[in-house]
C-alpha cells in the first residue's frame, strides 16, 4: 500500500496517476488470494476460501480456512463486503434523520439501533428523564418483539444450514406474526425509523393489544414446535453439543457478549446491569448455561424468546393502563411535528395535520418547516449508550458540536466484535463444524460492516 499522494476521492477514475503506484486487487492473477494459494502448492494442507458468496455464511462473510484432512488448522474471517458508510452518512443528516440510517445497520434487529441512538441523543439533549413513560413502554415492547424475531432468524437459518428445512419454515412463519405487528405499528416490516429522539413517531393503534395477544399465543405455539424439533433431537445434538466451545476467559478477552457470553454461566445482561427504558421495573430472568457450546447457545435463545414474551405481556398491560398518554417529549422544539398516520399505502403525514398547517396556522407551518429542514440543536459534548441487542451489547458513541447534525456517530456492533471469536471457535475442529460455530455467533453482516 502506498501513501496517498493526491486528494483522495471516492469516485476517482481507474486511470488516475495513482493507479500505477497502488497495489491493485484482482480476483485472479496477483491478488491476495493468489498469494495464499501459491504458498500452499505442493503441501498436504488445503486452503479453502468460503464466501463471501456462500449460502451458510449469513450474508457476505468471507472465511479463509486452512484444512488438514477434515480438521481446520487455521480460520480467518474477512469482512467489509457490505460496508456502506452509514456512520459517515449520519454526519450529513439531522439527528432525527439519523434513526432512518442506523435502522439499516443490523437489519434483522433494526429497533435496537434506533433505540440506542435515540437514548444517546436524549442524553446529549439532557432530556433522559423527560421522555414520557408510555414512549419507554412502547420502546420496550418493540425491542422485545424484535428480540424474538431476531432469535427466530438465528434458530431458523442455523437449522436450515444443518439441513433441517422444517426448523427454518416454522421459525419464519413465527417471525411473520411479529412482522405483521411491526407493520401495524410502524407501517413497515423493516427499516422502521419508528423510535425518534424524545419518544416514538406515533402511538400504537387502538386495537394493538387485540392483535398482539393472539399473535403472541401463536408465536408461543411455534416456539414449542421449534423446541420439539431441536432440543431433544439426537441429530441436532450430535451436530451442536461440544462444538464451537468458548469459555468465560475467552469471552472476556475477546469482549464477547450476549447469548455466547451467557452460555459460559455469566449472567451479564445490559438490561440488568445498566438498565434503560425502565427495564429495572419489569420482571424477567436472564437465562444462563455452563456448557459454553453451540447447543447451549441455541437453547438459551429459545429460553430468551420466552423471557421476551413475558416482557411483551407486561408492556402490553402497561400500555392498556397508559392509553392516551403522550408518546413524545413535551418540548415542541425537539418533538417532530410528525403527526403521522398509517394509510393504505403505508406510513405518511396525517392529512388532518397538513390541512391545519397549510390552511389555518402560518406559525405552525413555519415551525414544522424549520424543525424538519433544520432540525434541533444538540448541546456540544459526547455520550455513550449501550443496549442489550439480541447478539450482545450494542454501543453507540455520539459526539455533537452543538449543531443540528451529529459530529460523529459510532456504533459498536456486537456482530462485528463477536466475529473475532471465529478463529478460536473453529481451529482444531471439523470443517462441518465451522458452519455451526458461525451460526451460533449469529452475525448479521449489515451490522458488522455498517
Amino acid at each position: 500500500m502506498s501513501a496517498p499522494t493526491a486528494t483522495p476521492h471516492a469516485t476517482r477514475g481507474a486511470d488516475d496517476d495513482q493507479a500505477s503506484t497502488v497495489r491493485a486487487f484482482e480476483a485472479f492473477g496477483d491478488g491476495d488470494w493468489d498469494e495464499i494459494a501459491r504458498e500452499a502448492v505442493g503441501e498436504e494442507r488445503i486452503v479453502v476460501n468460503m464466501g463471501p458468496q456462500h449460502p451458510s455464511t449469513h450474508g457476505v462473510l468471507r472465511l479463509m480456512l486452512e484444512i488438514d484432512g477434515e480438521t481446520v488448522t487455521e480460520a480467518r474471517a474477512g469482512i467489509g463486503y457490505l460496508h456502506t458508510g452509514i456512520e459517515k452518512n449520519m454526519e450529513y443528516r439531522t439527528w432525527t434523520q439519523g434513526t432512518t440510517f442506523c435502522t439499516r445497520m443490523d437489519y434483522v434487529a433494526p429497533l435496537f439501533q434506533e433505540a440506542a441512538f435515540c437514548l444517546a441523543t436524549e442524553r446529549l439533549l439532557g432530556i433522559t428523564d423527560d421522555v414520557p413513560e408510555r414512549a419507554s413502554e412502547i420502546r420496550v415492547l418493540m425491542m422485545e418483539l424484535n428480540r424474538i424475531s431476531s432469535h427466530l432468524i438465528c434458530l431458523g437459518t442455523g437449522g436450515n444450514e444443518m439441513g433441517a428445512t422444517t426448523v427454518m419454515t416454522v421459525a419464519f412463519t413465527a417471525r411473520e406474526e411479529i412482522l405483521r405487528l411491526f407493520e401495524a405499528v410502524t407501517g413497515l416490516r423493516m427499516n422502521h425509523a419508528y423510535i425518534r429522539p424524545g419518544g416514538v413517531a406515533i402511538d400504537v393503534p387502538d386495537d394493538f393489544a387485540a392483535q398482539a395477544r393472539p399473535a403472541m399465543e401463536r408465536v408461543r405455539g411455534y416456539l414449542g414446535q421449534l423446541a420439539d424439533l431441536m432440543i431433544a433431537n439426537p441429530i441436532f445434538k450430535a451436530r451442536l453439543v461440544d462444538v464451537g466451545a468458548l469459555n468465560l476467559a475467552g469471552c472476556m478477552a475477546l469482549g464477547i457478549t450476549g447469548p455466547v457470553l451467557r452460555s459460559t454461566g455469566l449472567p451479564y445482561d445490559v438490561r440488568k446491569q445498566a438498565p434503560y427504558c425502565g427495564y429495572e421495573t419489569y420482571d424477567f430472568d436472564v437465562p444462563t448455561d455452563t456448557a459454553a457450546d453451540c447447543y447451549s447457545r441455541a437453547v438459551l435463545r429459545i429460553e430468551e424468546c420466552y423471557q421476551s414474551m413475558r416482557l411483551v405481556e407486561q408492556a402490553l398491560a402497561r400500555l392498556d393502563a397508559s392509553a392516551g398518554a403522550p408518546v413524545m417529549v413535551a418540548d415542541k422544539k425537539i418533538a417532530w411535528p410528525a403527526q403521522l398516520a398509517i394509510g393504505g399505502d403505508g406510513q405518511g403525514n396525517s392529512l388532518e395535520h397538513i390541512r391545519k398547517i397549510m390552511g389555518t396556522s402560518m406559525e405552525a407551518l413555519i415551525h414544522h418547516f424549520k424543525l424538519v429542514t433544520e432540525g434541533f440543536r444538540v448541546p456540544a459534548g459526547q455520550a455513550w449508550q449501550t443496549v442489550e441487542h439480541p447478539r450482545g451489547e450494542l454501543g453507540v458513541h455520539v459526539v455533537s458540536d452543538g449543531g443540528t447534525r451529529p459530529y460523529r456517530a459510532h456504533f459498536r456492533d456486537p456482530s462485528f466484535n463477536n466475529l473475532q471469536a471465529v478463529s478460536v471457535m473453529c481451529e482444531g475442529g471439523q470443517v462441518a463444524d465451522v458452519v455451526v460455530a458461525v451460526a451460533s455467533l449469529d452475525p448479521v453482516l449489515g451490522g458488522v460492516d455498517r
Binding site: 500500500m1 496517498p4 483522495p8 476521492h9 471516492a10 469516485t11 497502488v22 497495489r23 491493485a24 486487487f25 491476495d32 469482512i79 467489509g80 460496508h83 458508510g85 459517515k88 450529513y92 442524553r123 446529549l124 439533549l125 439532557g126 432530556i127 433522559t128 428523564d129 423527560d130 472476556m252 478477552a253 469482549g255 455469566l266 446491569q273 445498566a274 438498565p275 434503560y276 413535551a330 422544539k333 425537539i334 433544520e374 432540525g375 440543536r377 444538540v378 448541546p379 456540544a380 459534548g381 459526547q382 455520550a383 455513550w384 449501550t386 454501543g395 458513541h397 459526539v399 458540536d401 452543538g402 449543531g403 460523529r408 459510532h410 459498536r412 462485528f416 466484535n417 473475532q420 455498517r450
Partner: protein, 254 residues
C-alpha cells in the same frame, strides 16, 4: 447557538445539578462564522455576521460525584505504585451530567483524558486492580477534530466493569502530523478489530498492533474515509430541472 452555551447538565426542561467549582469552564474548539457556507461580502443570506463558537465541556473539578472520585483515587494510587505520576498520565477528567438531577443517575458519564504514551499502563491498572476491575473493553471509536491543532485525532475507549457495575471512557489524542498511538491489544485483545477499524477510517497508527491492516475498506484504498477532510465524492444529481449538489457541498445550517 443557544444550546452550545450550556456545557453539560443544562438540557431543556431538566433541573441543573449545581456544578462543582470550575466545572463551567469551556473549551473553545472552533469558531464558525456565517451560515449556509457563505460569509464573504457577496452574502445575501443575512447570516454573514453570525459568529458561533463551538465549545466542548471543559475539565470538571472535584468532587466528581458518585463512584468517580473513588476510581480516580485508586487509579492514582495504582499508577504511583508502578512509578507513574497520576498527573503525567491523566490530562483531565470530564464528567458529563447530561441533565441529571442526581450525581449518580445512569446518564452521568466519566471521561479520563489520558496522554497517549501512558495509555497502556493506565489500561493495565484499570483492568487488573481489584478495586477497579474494568475487565471488558467495548471497543475503540475515533473522532477527527481538524481544528484542534496538535491533537486532531482522538481515540475513545469504552470500558466496562462487570464486577462493580461501572462504565468509563478513556480519550486519547494524537496530532495529525504524528498519528501514532500505542496499541491496547496486549491488555484488551478484543480491541484488535476495533483498532483496525479506527486505523482504516481515521489513519491512526496503533504501534504494537499484531496486524494493523484495513478491515472495512479494500486493501488498496487511498485515504481514510471518516476523516472530516475526506470528500464524500458524490456527484450532482439533476431533479426536475434543478441540480442537487453532493451532501458535503450543499448549503447547510452550521
Amino acid at each position: 447557538m443557544s444550546g452550545a452555551s450550556v456545557p453539560d447538565g443544562g438540557g431543556p426542561g431538566g433541573e441543573v445539578v449545581a456544578p462543582p467549582a470550575g466545572a463551567t469552564q469551556l473549551e473553545v474548539v472552533e469558531v464558525r462564522k456565517g451560515m449556509f457556507g457563505v460569509g464573504d461580502s457577496g452574502d445575501t443570506s443575512g447570516y454573514g455576521g453570525l459568529v458561533a463558537p463551538v465549545v466542548m465541556p471543559g475539565p470538571s473539578a472535584r468532587p466528581y460525584g458518585s463512584w468517580f472520585d473513588e476510581v480516580v483515587d485508586v487509579l492514582a494510587e495504582v499508577l504511583a505504585e508502578g512509578g507513574l505520576a497520576y498527573d503525567d498520565a491523566v490530562e483531565k477528567v470530564v464528567v458529563d451530567r447530561h441533565g441529571a438531577t442526581t450525581p449518580d443517575a445512569p446518564q452521568v458519564e466519566l471521561t479520563l483524558y489520558v496522554r497517549r504514551e501512558h495509555l497502556v499502563p493506565v489500561c493495565q491498572a484499570l483492568r487488573d486492580d481489584q478495586d477497579l476491575r474494568f475487565e471488558m473493553s467495548l471497543g475503540v471509536s475515533g473522532v477527527h477534530y481538524p481544528h484542534e491543532t496538535g491533537r486532531e485525532l482522538h481515540a475513545v475507549y469504552h470500558l466496562v466493569s462487570i464486577t462493580h457495575g461501572r462504565r468509563l471512557r478513556l480519550e486519547v489524542a494524537a496530532p495529525d502530523a504524528d498519528p501514532h498511538m500505542p496499541s491496547t491489544v496486549s491488555v484488551y485483545p478484543t480491541n484488535d478489530w476495533h483498532e483496525r477499524e479506527t486505523y482504516d477510517f481515521f489513519g491512526l497508527i496503533f504501534d504494537g498492533h499484531p496486524a494493523l491492516t484495513r478491515i472495512e475498506m479494500p486493501d488498496d484504498w487511498v485515504g481514510h474515509p471518516q476523516r472530516k477532510d475526506y470528500p464524500l465524492g458524490g456527484i450532482p444529481v439533476e431533479y426536475k430541472g434543478a441540480t442537487v449538489p453532493p451532501p458535503d457541498t450543499r448549503r447547510s445550517y452550521s
